[in-house]
């Protein structure tokens, strides 16, 4: 779009003629590189003094071609890509993708694998909520709250590192089970860390939840009605804050959530304060789920015994011919789920994380699609922000928990 200088002058002259000089609207870019735009998003905001009259979001700055990349990989090679989608709760993405392909195969993971998936998934959910709440509190000015949550998050990431080997790029689930089992002594360390996390939660709760300045900043800001929320496709904590108790773990139960007892916190008005409270309560509910799952942990294999879905044990690979052939075919040809398509929704940190996978029977994926929950939230951002002040963009955008990796894929 290279315009010659003369054309720019003509363009400016046209603008000047058409400009309504009596209005005081100024266009300001809450631009892509901005301290509060975690994950890079650009908002062109039209402001009248400090009042926002219009807003145009622009996304796509972190688009890395996840879907195109997965079409050119084998099925198992897509799992590391899913870590990097919602990079603050990578295990939930791993679990969602593995379960979607397991649905294509028609196999189920064994019970112990399901329980460990629940534990790791809920740990991921806690870290997701902690990052969201901490970052948005920091931007409102409560810097100490953020650092205490980061300290609590470190305890949890140490746990994740013990099991999967990495804090963020976990790559832990396989089709039909998990890659590694829980190490010895993990459940005791888990209980110990969860107690510490509960202490931090209590401290932070005392710091901010009844603080008048914080409440003034977030109450009645960014409210959205139930009908609008449903029309915009909200799911997850944002929808629950509006008062609709939609949780995929309850409405389309997967894994072993039917055996676990937990409550779904819902808000009433759908403003930022309700979202904050819903997320804080969900952290506590997740802690309770983890404790229940740790109590009920069965013994058993962590990978399904179906051939052609899982890599056989090393003693079988080197011990008998079937294991050797299975291992060879799996590594050389990759997984070959039967032809068909499957959509499996999983309750992610942000809402409904749905993997839509299409297979044609050969080893190459035809389509791997992630349904990004925060796509809808950023789409609804103008609706939530118009009529508020510039200073309100920050708490609203913080409460959305936009993760760039998930939004742009």
């Amino acid at each position: 779009m290279e315009t010659a200088p003369l054309e720019i002058q003509k363009h400016e002259a046209e603008l000047q003629e058409s400009v309504d000089h009596s209005s005081s609207v100024m266009a300001i870019e809450i631009g892509p590189s901005h301290p509060a735009m975690h994950g890079i998003v650009r908002f062109t905001t039209y402001v009248d003094g400090e009042l926002i009259v219009d807003m145009i979001p622009e996304i796509g700055y972190l688009h890395r071609g996840f879907e195109k990349e997965s079409e050119n990989s084998k099925w198992i090679q897509v799992t590391p890509y899913t870590d990097r989608l919602n990079y603050v709760s990578p295990l939930l993405n791993n679990i969602g993708y593995a379960m979607a392909v397991e649905k294509l195969y028609g196999v189920e993971a064994p019970r112990r694998a399901e329980f460990t998936r629940v534990i790791m998934g809920e740990i991921s959910r806690i870290t997701d909520h902690m990052t969201c709440l901490g970052a948005s509190a920091m931007e409102v000015g409560a810097f100490t709250f953020f650092l205490w949550f980061i300290k609590a998050r470190e305890y949890l990431w140490e746990l994740v590192e013990e099991v999967t080997g990495a804090r963020l790029t976990t790559n832990w689930t396989r089709f039909g089970g998990n890659a590694t089992d829980l190490p010895d002594g993990f459940l005791d360390a888990l209980q110990d860390r969860l107690d510490k996390v509960k202490d931090v939660m209590d401290e932070c709760d005392r710091l901010l939840t009844k603080n008048k300045i914080f409440i003034d900043r977030v109450k009645d800001i960014g409210a959205i009605s139930k009908e609008d929320a449903l029309s915009f496709g909200f799911t997850g904590p944002m929808l629950r804050a509006c008062g609709i108790p939609y949780d995929i773990r309850r409405s389309d139960p997967y894994s072993v959530y039917e055996e676990l007892d937990f409550e779904i916190p819902i808000g009433s008005t759908g403003d930022c304060f309700d979202r904050y409270l819903v997320r804080m309560e969900e952290i506590r509910q997740s802690i309770s789920i983890i404790e229940q799952a740790a109590d009920k942990m069965p013994v058993g294999p962590i990978q399904t015994l179906e051939r052609r879905v899982h890599y056989p044990d090393k003693k079988d690979v080197y011990g008998n011919i079937e294991g050797l052939i299975d291992h060879f075919k799996m590594v050389m040809e990759g997984h070959r789920p039967p032809a068909g398509e499957a959509y499996l929704p999983v309750e992610g940190g942000n809402g409904e994380v749905g993997f839509f996978v299409v297979s044609d029977g050969s080893g190459d994926p035809v389509r791997v699609r992630l349904r990004p929950p925060c796509f809808n939230f950023v789409e609804a951002m103008p609706k939530m922000t118009i009529g508020h002040y510039i200073a309100d963009i920050v708490p609203i955008f913080g409460s959305i928990n936009m993760i760039g990796g998930e939004l742009d894929r």
């Binding site: 400090e50 810097f143 100490t144 205490w148 300045i213 200073a391 920050v394």
Partner: protein
């Protein structure tokens, strides 16, 4: 030797020496120390250690050398000026804050006078009105910086700063009306001496915080808003308008803004101590009648410094504990809550003085 004493007895030379001592040995060192202590004390609250890496060879001094490191870094940075900015205003804007912050120390007494020699640079009759005048001057720094940088974020920050600082000056003045009435003078040394009286015979000193508790709260709030410290740092934005009015500054000019802010922190602490916490008077020291004069002066300076450091600590930990106000909430707080309260305070003080004294 004789010539030296003669020169020293000229009042002008004495004033110049006092200025040099106060600025170079009190205001500036404490101000730069506060830049480091802000990071250290905030780290203490946040469960971490804070800066402790700057070293010269083996000596780290637990982070003390960061002061020098920061200063040197700012000096060597590139001094940018945005295209299209008003050159003259852009250049002079940082210095208003600095001048206003340092000039606050002109009327602060550090110890009781020895004979004719006052430990105060200028003990003028309208002492406190001088403070109002100087803080009004510091508005220019923010406004000029915001308006002259060719940037929308800076403009927003400068607008916010001007509105906020002008409003809170009003309340600052009103909050001090009570102090004038109680101690009967605007001369600062009179106010400090007035706080040396005791109630119930040498039991409770008549400090400003006891005679004017509401005035103390209002004045502290107004001064913290005046210096744009948290929770009133909407002009400094930091999350929505990235850095507000000093967005386009870099290098030593930006350091001048930061230094002005921290010197103002020390200035605010000194003002609060002087007006509400007895200034330099050590409570109950008059009971020790045989104390030598030089010891009394040293104790007074120590007491003053301790209280100043305590109030600096208070402002810093206030910043890291409470979230920030939105800008219209700052204005609403000022005009709708503080203004009526300060008027009530003035009237109530007048009534009480009339009836009981």
């Amino acid at each position: 030797m004789q010539i030296l004493l003669e020169i020293l007895s000229i009042p002008l030379v004495q004033s110049l020496l006092k200025i040099v001592v106060v600025i170079l040995l009190f205001a500036m060192p404490l101000g730069t120390l506060m830049t480091l202590m802000e990071r250290k004390w905030s780290a203490m609250i946040q469960d971490r250690v804070g800066p402790n890496r700057a070293n010269a060879g083996n000596f780290t001094g637990n982070g003390l050398l960061h002061i020098a490191a920061d200063g040197l870094k700012s000096i060597f940075k590139e001094d940018t000026m945005p295209e299209g900015s008003d050159r003259f205003l852009f250049l002079i804007a940082p210095f208003f804050g600095l001048i206003a912050g340092v000039a606050t120390f002109a009327i602060i007494p550090f110890a009781a006078p020895i004979g004719d020699f006052k430990f105060q640079i200028a003990d003028v009759e309208p002492g406190l009105l001088f403070i109002f005048a100087i803080t009004s001057l510091s508005v220019y720094g923010a406004v000029l910086a915001g308006a002259s940088s060719n940037s929308k974020y800076a403009l927003l920050g400068g607008t916010r700063a001007s509105a906020q600082m002008l409003s809170y000056e009003v309340f600052m003045g009103l909050a001090l009306m009570g102090v004038f009435m109680v101690y009967g003078s605007t001369r600062v040394s009179d106010i400090v001496d007035g706080q040396n009286q005791y109630w119930f015979g040498s039991l409770i000193p008549q400090w400003g915080v006891f005679t004017q508790p509401l005035g103390f709260l209002l004045f502290t709030t107004a001064l913290i808003a005046e210096t744009k410290r948290a929770p009133f740092d909407a002009p400094e934005g930091e999350s929505e308008i990235v850095a507000g009015y000093f967005l386009e500054y870099s290098g030593m000019r930006w350091s001048a803004f930061m230094l002005a802010e921290y010197v103002a922190v020390v200035g605010v602490a000194s003002l609060i101590t002087t007006l509400f916490f007895g200034g330099y008077h050590v409570p109950w020291l008059h009971l020790w009648t045989s104390a030598p004069e030089w010891l009394v002066r040293i104790l007074q300076v120590l007491k003053f410094s301790l209280f100043v450091i305590f109030f600096c600590w208070f402002q810093i930990q206030l910043r890291w504990t409470v979230p920030k106000f939105r800008f219209d909430q700052t204005m609403a707080l000022g005009w709708k809550k503080l203004l009526p309260l300060s008027l009530i305070n003035t009237v109530a003080t007048a009534v009480i003085i009339l009836i009981f004294v």
